[in-house]
């Protein structure tokens, strides 16, 4: 946020895309782990992720934005049954 003295009134945010600046990865209890051998890059996880935390390059799913992933597990749930390339693991688990 901007300096407190210059806060716009009413708690409004006067620019777009500020969610990038707010790191929510610390909320995570479970982390998604990708098995690249199984992933078909169907990108259902990219569509479903509520935090835009699936990183895609040149049409391929390459991993997670761990600064913003809250560990909700929607990606693992939505990954098709025949594929199941994402598993949720405890942060302390290897």
């Amino acid at each position: 946020m901007t300096e407190k003295k210059n806060l716009p009134i009413g708690g409004i945010i006067t620019q777009g895309g500020t969610a990038h600046e707010y790191v929510t990865g610390g909320w995570r209890k479970l982390r998604p782990v990708l098995d690249k051998g199984k992933c078909t890059s169907c990108l259902i996880c990219w569509v479903m992720c509520p935090d835009s935390a699936i990183i895609v390059e040149e049409g391929k799913m390459i991993g997670f934005d761990m600064e913003h992933c809250k560990g909700c597990g929607i990606c693992a749930e939505e990954c098709p049954d025949k594929v199941k390339a994402i598993t949720m693991k405890e942060e302390t688990e290897q």
Binding site: M1, K4, L7, P8, I9, G10, G11, I12, I13, T14, Q15, G16, T18
Partner: protein, 399 residues
């Protein structure tokens, strides 16, 4: 005997005058749900919408909670927004009232004062607007149809003032003012248009070139700053209310201050009272003055923010004061106007005695003789310095 009509005057009920004022203001959006005794406002205004007399987008909603929610959305989008309600309707808006003020949205709401359930009652008292007194809305109270209409026009200017940016509630008494026809001087459409001006929102949601977020979460590091801004804004609004009241007076001949002082300057005893009952009390004052008794009235117009310095100043030389509330705070210590007036007087070196009287709940009559009785009691207190009962109900029931 018939009273000849005066040129430029109309006979209107409070509800009709408010609806007519809204027609002249021609807001961009009105979202409302009808409830007695404010129904007439919504009914007549929706007629203006249907007739094409206004450009307003009228949103028929399924509840008052939705009405205020739609008003908030429309106001955030950059529209000039108005609504009206009463009693349970205002109570049902409760959580949204705080969101409107916290987001600093200049919505104008007319509250036609009515008692809150239970027991259910459709008649006048101030439990609805007084229940919302800490919701961050500016509150203007109106004795007559004329004052209600004039307050409505000024409310638009106050709410949208750049140093204020807060919602305003215009209060008038249910049935007594909302349904009784009074003579009123209307202002012509062009003058109203010029007086209120155009509204340009600083950060409209619909301006996609300059995207903004309304309603974002704030954590302990900023929430307090926003509340501090809001607190300063409502405190500042007092001067804006004064300025606009003066400007209104210059333009239209009826000047408004923060309060009306009626024969108060040399008074020994004073009644502090809001809205239509002040009119009844004025008759009592005139009668008692004829008998040589020094009595007067302080009728606050602005209750939120509370003009505490001005109240103290107005009652500085009075010996005894009765604050008459048309609502009970249910705190075992009188009504809100009593508590706040008494608190305002604490700053004075030499304070008058102050008593609380609750009257007129659920539309119970308040008559000239009731005011006379209170003044008699006050003059006794002024003489003896002794208060027999600090808080009391004026039951006024002939049985």
């Amino acid at each position: 005997m018939t009273t000849p009509a005066i040129k430029g005057q109309a006979g209107l009920t409070g509800n009709s005058a408010i609806a007519y004022g809204m027609k002249q203001i021609n807001p961009d959006v009105c979202a409302a749900y009808p409830i007695t005794p404010s129904t007439g406002i919504v009914e007549e205004f929706s007629g203006y919408v249907a007739d094409g007399a206004v450009d307003t987008e009228f949103i028929t909603v399924e509840s008052e909670h939705s009405a205020m929610s739609a008003c908030i959305g429309a106001s955030a989008a950059g529209a000039r927004v108005m609504t009206a309600t009463s009693s349970q309707g205002l109570a049902y808006m409760w959580e949204m009232l705080y969101i409107a003020s916290g987001m600093r949205l200049p919505i104008v709401l007319t509250d036609v004062n009515r008692a809150l359930s239970a027991p259910i009652n459709i008649h006048c008292d101030h439990s609805d607007s007084m229940g919302a007194r800490d919701a961050g809305w500016i509150q203007l109270y109106s004795e007559t149809v004329q004052e209600a209409y004039d307050n409505l026009l000024q409310a638009v200017r106050i709410a949208e003032h750049k140093d204020v940016m807060l919602p305003v509630m215009v209060c008038l008494d249910g049935f007594i003012t909302s349904h009784a026809i009074e003579n009123i001087t209307l202002i012509n459409d062009a003058d109203v248009k010029e007086f209120i001006g155009e509204y340009q929102a600083a950060h409209p949601l619909l301006d996609t070139d300059n995207p903004v977020t309304y309603g974002a979460m704030t954590l302990p590091d900023t929430y307090m700053e926003f509340k501090h801004q809001q607190s300063k804004a409502i405190a500042r609004s007092k001067d804006v209310v004064s300025e606009i009241g003066k400007e209104f007076g210059k333009k239209f001949g009826r000047e408004y201050g923060l309060m009306e002082k009626y024969k108060l300057d040399d008074a020994d005893a004073a009644i502090v009272i809001l809205n239509s009952a002040a009119g009844t009390t004025k008759v009592a004052v005139d009668e008692l003055r004829k008998a040589g008794k020094k009595v007067g009235i302080l009728k606050p117009r602005l209750f939120r923010p509370l003009p505490y310095r001005e109240i103290a100043d107005a009652l500085r030389n009075v010996k005894s004061v009765a604050v008459l509330d048309r609502v009970d705070s249910m705190n075992g210590f009188g009504g809100p106007l009593f508590n706040e007036t008494r608190s305002a007087l604490y700053e004075l070196e030499k304070r008058p005695k102050v008593i609380s009287r609750i009257f007129g709940l659920g539309g119970r009559d308040y008559k000239v003789k009731d005011a006379v009785q209170v003044f008699d009691e006050l003059l006794k207190i002024a003489d003896t310095g002794k208060v027999e009962s600090l808080t009391k109900y004026i039951m006024n029931k002939e049985s």
